[in-house]
Structures are given as C-alpha cells and as structure tokens.
Amino acid sequence: MNAEPGDLADRDRIRRAAGGDLEAMEKIYSDHRTMAYAVGMAVCGNGSDADDVVQETFLRAFRTLGQWRGESSFRSWLYAVAFRTAQNWKSRFVRRPSIPAAAVGAGLSAPEESRADEHALVLAAVRELPEQQRLTLLLKHLRGLSVREIAELQGCAEGTVKANLHHAVQGLARRLGKGLE
C-alpha cells in the first residue's frame, strides 16, 4: 500500500467520510481541493469551469469512496477521479472563450484594464501549452506539489515531470515575451 505517510489518521478520516461524516468530508475537501482545481484549470482552461470540476470531483469521490481500496495513495485515486471528471466536463460543457481579446478589460479604468489584459494574457499563454505540461505546471504552482509527488500522481518518472515543468516555463516565458532563450 502506497498511502501517504501518516495516514492512519487519513485512513480513518476517509473511512468516516465513506460513512457519511460531513466533518471528515470537509477536511478531505480542504486538503485536496486545490489539486482538483489545478486539474480542472489544466483541462478546461478557465477558473469558473475549474470550480465546477472541483465540486463534481468531490461529489463523485464522496459517492464512490468505497471503491478506494487503499492499493494506491488516496491522492492518486482522487487525482484520477478529478482528471476523468474534468475531461467529461470539458467535453460536455466547456465552450471556447467567446470574448474577443480586444474586449478584455472594456469599461475598466486604465490600471484595471492593464491588469485585466495581463490576467487574460497569462491565462491564454497557459492554455496554449500542451496538456501534460499544463497539468504539471499547475499542480506545481497552484498546489505546490513536489516533483516526486507529481510523478507519483501521473505515474511517470521524476525526470519526465522536470522536463515537462521546464518546457512549460520556457514556453510560458516565450509566449509572455519574457525573453528566455
């Protein structure tokens, strides 16, 4: 069994959540919410759909907690649930952003407009990265997982995670015109 260290308490919490204990569910939710959000952002490409993915992920996870048999870590299991949920959500509900780039920040004051432009630019640059690079980058940046933890989630070598992270940041720098050679 590969559960995270310390995990008698976690296992107990998961068991209680599977029994319908809302307090245990809330703790699990707060521990893993950002990971599900990072997956949602990487797959759907925007914060609002990513928030929906978070809710759907936990709804599905709490209903199927009995299916987690402890053979993999709980986080890996939840990651798989989040990834499948995000892909379903994307195929059913996500539409391409319909706001033209020129309209971003319309009606705002100059500093607000510039800030809105920058937000949109960063989001667009992240969206243009290949999916695997996006996932790695967002799990690292939004959730702060280590390279080893991300490799465990994605079932790949640490070197692959480092390479993906490296290419993601390089690609981002290029797209944002930060001048990294």
């Binding site: 914060g47 709490f62 480092k162 490296h166 940041v169 930060k178 050679e181």
Partner: protein, 520 residues
Amino acid sequence: MSDHPLDRLPLFASGELPDREAAEVGHHLARCVACRATVDETRAALERIGSLPASEATFADLLVRRSRARDCDELSEALTVHVMGEPDRRVERHAAGCPACEERLSVLRDVRGSLDLLPRSRATFEALRGRLRPRAFRRMASIAAAAGLIAALAAGGVLRTGPQKPPAVPAPSPVAALLSRVDSADDDTLRTAARTLDRQNVLHALHLAEAMEDESDSVRRYAAVRLLRHLETPAAEDLLVRALGKNAARDRILVRALVELQSPMVVPWLLTRLENPGSRTAALDDLARIRDRSTIAFIAEHLPDPRVAERLARFEPADLIREAAGHRNGALFVLVPSAPLRSSLVERSATDAAFRRSALAAAGDGGATGMEFLIRAAGDPRLQGEVVALLDMLPSAEVERAVDRALDREETSTTAVRIVDALRLESMRDRLRHGVLAGRLPPEATLPALARLGDLEALIAAARMRTGERWKKAVAAAFEAADPALRAEALKAAVPGREKVTLVRLSPLTRPGRFRRDTP
C-alpha cells in the same frame, strides 16, 4: 580494452600529461600497437590544427569555460525546479558564479510571478454540502428510489392506474417531486421515471427545460439536465420545437433543451437563426453540439468567422472530408483542426494546383490552426518547397510557435525539424538539442540541422552519449554538414581528453584514421 589509457592519450600526444602519468602511458605504449597508432594519429591531427590561428584563451580558461557550460546545460531543468519552489543548493552555488544563469533565474522568477495572476479557486465546501447525503440516507434512498419516484409520480397524477380521490392537500408537481429526489437516484431509475413522465405528460419536458436554466438553484439545474437527457421520445422533442417562436423569452431555454437532447428537429430553427448576426454565434455553437451531418455545409458558409472551424471539428472526419470536396469554402476547411481532414486536404493540394494556391493562402492567413496545416503539408515532398517558401514569408514568431508545438508531436516532429533546418530558426536550437539527446527527435534529421545551426556541442554530446551504429552514422553525417571553419574552431576549443578524442575521430581533418578503421 579497459587497460588502455584512452582518456590520457590525447594529453600524452600533446605533451600535457604530468610526468608520472606520462611515464605510465609511455610504458603502456611500448607494448600496445593500437594505442601507439592512436597517439600518432592524434599528433598528426594536432599538427594540422597548429597551423590554424592561435586562440588567445589559455588551457585553464578553456577548462573553466567548458566545465561551466556543461554545468549550465545540466542544470537547466534544475533551475526551473529551483524557482518553482524546490530550492537546490547546486543551482545556488552555480548561479553565484555564472552571470548567464543568474539572469535566467531572474527571468524564471518573473515568469513565476506572472503565474500568480491565474484565478484561484472560489469553490467552497458549503456549496457542496447541499448536494451530499449521509451514507445511510443514500443507501436507503437507492433501495427505495424507484418506489419513491413512482409514488411521487402517482401523487402528482402522472400515473393514473384507476379512479382516485383528489388529494386533501396540494401535492408537489411530478417534476418538483422528481427533482427533489433525482440527486440520489441511479440512472436506470431516472430513465424509467423520465419515460413514464414523458409518456403521460410531455409538458413536463418544458418544465424541466425551465428548471435547467434556473440560475438560482444549481441542484435543480443539475437534476433537470440529468432527467432531460433521458427524455428521448419524439413527442417531447416535438412539443419543445412547437413551442419555439411562441414566447421569445423561452426560445433560448427550449433550444438548450433540444440541443441537450441532440434533437435534429431543432436544426431548421437554428438554420434560420444563422441569418441574423446577433444570434449567429449561439446558433453555430448549438448546431455543432447537435452534430447533424446535414448542417456542415451551412456552418461552413461561416468559416471566415472566428472559431467556426473549431466548431466544425466536432463532426465526423469522413463527413467533413465529403463536404469539403464540393463546398465553395473548401479551401477554408484547412483551418478545421481535424487530422484525417487535413491529410485529405494535403493530398488534394498535391494533385490540384488551383486548390493548392487557395488552400495555402487560407492556411497562411489562418493563424495557429492554419499553421498546423502548413506544417503537415510541409511533410509531403510534393508540397515541401512551396510550403517552406510560404513559411519563410510569414511572421517568424508565429512560425516558431507552430514549430514548437509540432516538435512535441511524434507525427509532425520530423517535418518540424526539417522546417527549422530550412528556415535556420536559431531560436529552436535548444529545443532540437534537448529533443534529440532525449531520444524524442530523430538523429538523422536533427543532428545535421543542429550542425548547420552551428551547434557542434550537440554533436559532441550525442557522440558521447549514444554509441549505436545509427547514432554514429548520424553524428558523422552531421559533422560533414557543419561549416568547416566551425569544425576547426570546435576542435581547437575542445578540452583535451575524451572531448578531443571524440572530435578527432569525427573530424574530416583527421581521416583516414581511427574512425575509418573502426567502420566496417
């Protein structure tokens, strides 16, 4: 062979080996013909090199420079990981003495700062709580779900199995009753209930459609969508279609419901909406979600509009190929991100000159998706010259972005390397080097491209890291392709030792020699 002092032979040949080691090597040479021959060849090569202009750099300078450059290469990924939150002492030590890496760190930190602008999650457990049920309740509910739903339907008068007394208190409507339970029911139960509901009173479909659009209650919306997906009978669709146009405020709701049902019955209505620029975008989107093949031609009429090509990509490739063949906007189908369609259009471009002109022009004006078509077309030898010439005229940043993406995909990576080679895209040099050394890019195309871009260090690294016949041939061919002056420069700047042995083996200056003898 492990007894041969191969690493020390070049230093011995150039007289740079300390006395004690020189004596050991001399002792070995006295009884080893092969090593003597290597020393002779190396001396001959060094004499030829000696006739080139002398470098001002000392040996120590070269050693430090080369060692630092090697560290920079090896630490490039570690720099990123360091900045992204996993501090690494090696990086700190190296960057302290390397201005280039210090500068890179500063840029990476800047990029990381930009990531802070990404939106953060606003989801809360409180919002989820209402959708969760205690397990015991759920277990009970799942057992009794069917019975409960049927009872609710009966209470609402939906199931009329015989004469009944009117209820003493107003019962909740069947739809309301269904919606209140739908969150805990399984799909089979829902399907059964939805069919019964539909058969008895299709008007409920309309109520479901309204519930689906209720912004104030996400649970009700979710439940309505789930129920609506089980309404598959033509009667419900017919009702919803007939309601269209009678109440403008409801039209959008009805269309959403019909689209959710994937109903072709709403297609004629949507086609009329295409004529109005105000409703066109939503209509195109809905048509693409229904994916009725008869609508491809109508949607393609709007291919010049933004994002229409992406919507078309939802259709079956075979239908798209058939439609593109006879459509007046046929050339604009190059913008549709569908691999089978692109292959078909590349083939047509190769055989039909008139179509080729318009297709390449459309792709050239088509931004990122057009660029993807051009890269695929460049992989066809019949189109390669024309496409590369066109790419050369397009904005280089756009081309580089497309090539960057193409390098990531196995099916286009070789073509992308050839484009980098043909257009001499200097900015792609690192991508090629990392790709080929990691085995992601084919050495036969990539190493000569790197050589022509002046990156002989990549060849040295490849010769060291890869020893198979395929790699030997690719490295030797690439070395031949390099500029002779650069070759000589590299040979001169190489650190004595294994690096020099590698270069001496590869350099045409030293042939015939050891390399030729080793080659069958």
